[in-house]
Amino acid sequence: MAHTDGPPVYLNGKQVENPHEDHHHVSPMWVFSTVFGALLFLTILTYLVSYADLGPASLPVAMIVATVKGSLVVGFFMHLKYEDRFYSFLFVVTLLFVSIFFTFVLFDMETTGDLNDEAGIRYKRSVEDASDAAEAAAARLAADQPAPVPVGGGH
């Protein structure tokens, strides 16, 4: 064969033994149907769970279900499970960077309040919100007690 005498062929940095023979993985129909059924089931589950009041657990539960659905789509519909592992590596590295992004920002969000309190720093927004709330409470109090209590400039 003329092909074998040609120059070496590389794919993703590795030399390919028989470059002109292609092997395509074709998933059987039942795999797609099963994945689709599972996705529909999980969607209905998320929808129903949102009506059951799970309290603080509802967000993690919804995220876990969404992650399972996402993995099914990426693994089977996007065919990542059967591809060269290099594509999985790319995708996992992307998710790693997303998690670094989220972790650091949300960690900062959680802790910055305490640090600001310690340093005596107050946001204009929270000062305004506090005075709004105080005003509303005073108005409610005034409505409840018809005897007018003079509310001065505030101490």
């Binding site: 003329a2 092909h3 005498d5 040609g6 120059p7 062929v9 590389y10 794919l11 993703n12 390919v16 470059p19 002109h20 292609d22 395509h24 074709v26 998933s27 129909m29 797609f32 994945v35 689709f36 996705l39 529909l40 969607t43 998320t46 929808y47 949102s50 009041d53 799970l54 309290g55 509802s58 967000l59 919804a62 995220m63 279900v65 969404a66 659905k69 996402g70 789509v73 990426v74 089977f76 519909f77 996007m78 065919h79 290099f86 594509y87 790319l90 995708f91 590295v93 992307t94 998710l95 960077f97 997303v98 992004f101 989220f102 920002v105 949300l106 969000m109 959680e110 919100d129 709004d132």
Partner: protein, 222 residues
């Protein structure tokens, strides 16, 4: 050197001159598509983080403002998008197995689902606009008799940004799917040459993937 002439003859018509083999051409195209898919994930992750920041700052506001969204419309759209992902995967499989009829049918079904998604979105958006549930200075819920907590306009800001950017992706998806459908009608694809169908499929599944996370966060949060 008859070698060169013969090699030229052996090259299939769809193999670009700068690739040695079909396999090399295919994995280059797929690598590019996966890199693009990864940048899409990174782009949307910024918006998801913005959502979580708003949620951390104003937990009650996000809960109350999201109650105004139509859960049923969102649920229908989720099922429509999942179905379109399913038909897209079947379309790629049809191309892999030289099933011309199934390829065209599945591409058409996927495009139809994309249109249904946009129509439902249109009704959702018009309801929001009618009730003044809009971002920033356009927010006018109080004038329409809806009492919502302060800063609710921030929630509608993130809602319209996230679903809007996702909607743009759906519209782009309709365009590229139509382009692939036209090429399929010209019988360009076969079990040896289907990487274009597969790459559009990867794009379409990313659109679906984003919605899988958008839907519970925006519509179903508790």
């Amino acid at each position: 050197m008859t070698n060169k002439a013969q090699e030229h003859e052996d090259r299939p018509w769809f193999l670009a001159h700068h690739f040695d083999t079909v396999g090399q051409q295919m994995s280059s195209a797929k690598l590019g598509m996966w890199l693009f898919a990864c940048t899409e994930v990174l782009m949307f992750s910024g918006l998801f983080l913005a959502y979580f920041i708003i949620r951390t700052l104003y937990p009650e506001m996000v809960l109350e403002a999201s109650e105004q969204l139509n859960k049923t419309a969102g649920g229908i759209n989720t099922i429509v998008l999942l179905t379109s992902s399913f038909t897209m995967a079947l379309g790629v499989r049809a191309a892999q197995t030289n099933n011309q009829k199934a390829l065209e049918r599945n591409l058409l079904l996927t495009i139809a689902c994309a249109f249904i998604f946009m129509i439902v979105k249109y009704f959702e958006y018009s309801a929001k606009i009618e009730h003044g549930l809009l971002p920033g200075e356009y927010y006018a819920a109080a004038q329409h008799g809806i009492a919502l907590p302060k800063y609710s306009r921030v929630f509608y800001g993130i809602y319209f940004t996230m679903t809007g950017l996702h909607g743009v992706h759906v519209v782009v998806g309709i365009c590229v799917l139509s382009w692939i459908f036209i090429r399929a009608r010209r019988r360009e694809f076969s079990s040896q040459n289907y990487v274009a169908v597969e790459n559009v499929g990867i794009y379409w599944h990313i659109v679906d993937l984003v919605w899988i996370f958008l839907f519970p966060l925006l519509y179903l949060v508790k």
